[in-house]
Subunit: 205 residues, 2 copies
């Protein structure tokens, strides 16, 4: 049960699922606490049941665990930007999310492949929240290096690299901006700024 | 509380969130049961708190309600394939999900815009499940017609059209395949088919 006064807990205008309200993306992870095998599998079980275009499930995950596979973890870590490496070096798990960008049936472009992968990862992140785990998705990585590090076939594209673990002590973060960001409130557009009735820019009554 | 013996309830190999286990995409919706205003807003509140690249929240929603806005609803319905129209004509709410495909700060392509929209919609669908609502996402629509129907600016692309409402009686579906599909079990790849350890195709231990 997270502290309801924590600055990252969403302040929704309408009552939403606990796991949506409580999910946020820390940079401070607990270096000493590993993710249990069964917990990790449950994350993928959650991703597994996401909907997708033609049920093609175009998402793939490559897992690098710091303790169990130090070489694979180091290779994955090295693909990140220096700023991401500064905090991600201590996380127990790094995940690559890869997207198959063509349909299996005809090799034509799957326009919804990235969209579907986003849905699967969203399910995974909410499942993680339910288990007390935290996640942070990163776009700051070298795609060619990720592809090489995990031997990703050409049919797939790396979408994000994600850190998974237990939230840790922000004061241990090396970069000052990362420390202050850890305590700044989350912000979002108001509903009227992204939901319209009937036609564009017409607010919901 | 859904019937645990319902063929669409996922049979997960690991314990997952109820809303993930119970979510599925019917075509049979209850024509007589509308979605309350507050329930609809809560869906967008859930979408609102999804993560996104640079927190740009590139998702937009256009809502067409059958009873409140029959003209807008009819215009949206007309953009769907004939097969989708066959079941979607009675749903209380149709939603267009639009994606802003460029970054706001520099107008460069946002490679993760569709991915992020998928995450927001995933949050929305799980929130809907928590409220006893069902959703079905459709790719079968005419994008130019959707753009015209809701006056969508050129900066945005329509990703999907979604039906929202309460699940209904499958025997009322006009197309036989739709009736039988409503009772067929959901299927997904096994975890070993989409999760790898360290490098591609290497199964998780």
């Amino acid at each position: 049960m997270p502290d309801p006064a924590h600055p990252k807990i969403a302040r929704p205008d309408h009552e939403i699922l606990d796991v949506i309200r409580d999910r946020w993306s820390p940079r401070a992870f607990d270096a000493d606490r590993d993710v249990a095998d069964a917990d990790l599998r449950t994350l993928f079980e959650a991703a597994r049941w996401a909907p997708s275009s033609r049920n093609e499930q175009p998402w793939r995950f490559v897992v690098a665990r710091r303790r169990q596979s130090p070489d694979a973890f180091a290779a994955m870590l090295a693909t990140l930007t220096r700023k991401n490496q500064a905090w991600a070096a201590v996380v127990p798990v790094l995940l690559v999310v890869a997207v198959r960008t063509t349909h299996e049936i005809d090799d034509l472009v799957n326009s919804h492949a990235w969209y579907d992968a986003g849905q699967a990862v969203a399910f995974l992140t909410l499942q993680a929240t339910a288990q007390g785990l935290s996640t942070r998705q990163m776009q700051g990585f070298d795609p060619a290096a990720v592809r090489a590090a995990c031997h990703m076939p050409a049919l797939y594209e790396p979408a994000i690299v994600m850190a998974v673990g237990y939230a840790g002590d922000p004061s241990r973060l090396a970069i000052e901006y990362h420390r202050t960001d850890e305590a700044s409130p989350r912000s979002r557009r108001a509903i009227r700024e992204f939901v319209y009735a009937d036609i564009w820019d017409n607010p919901l009554p």
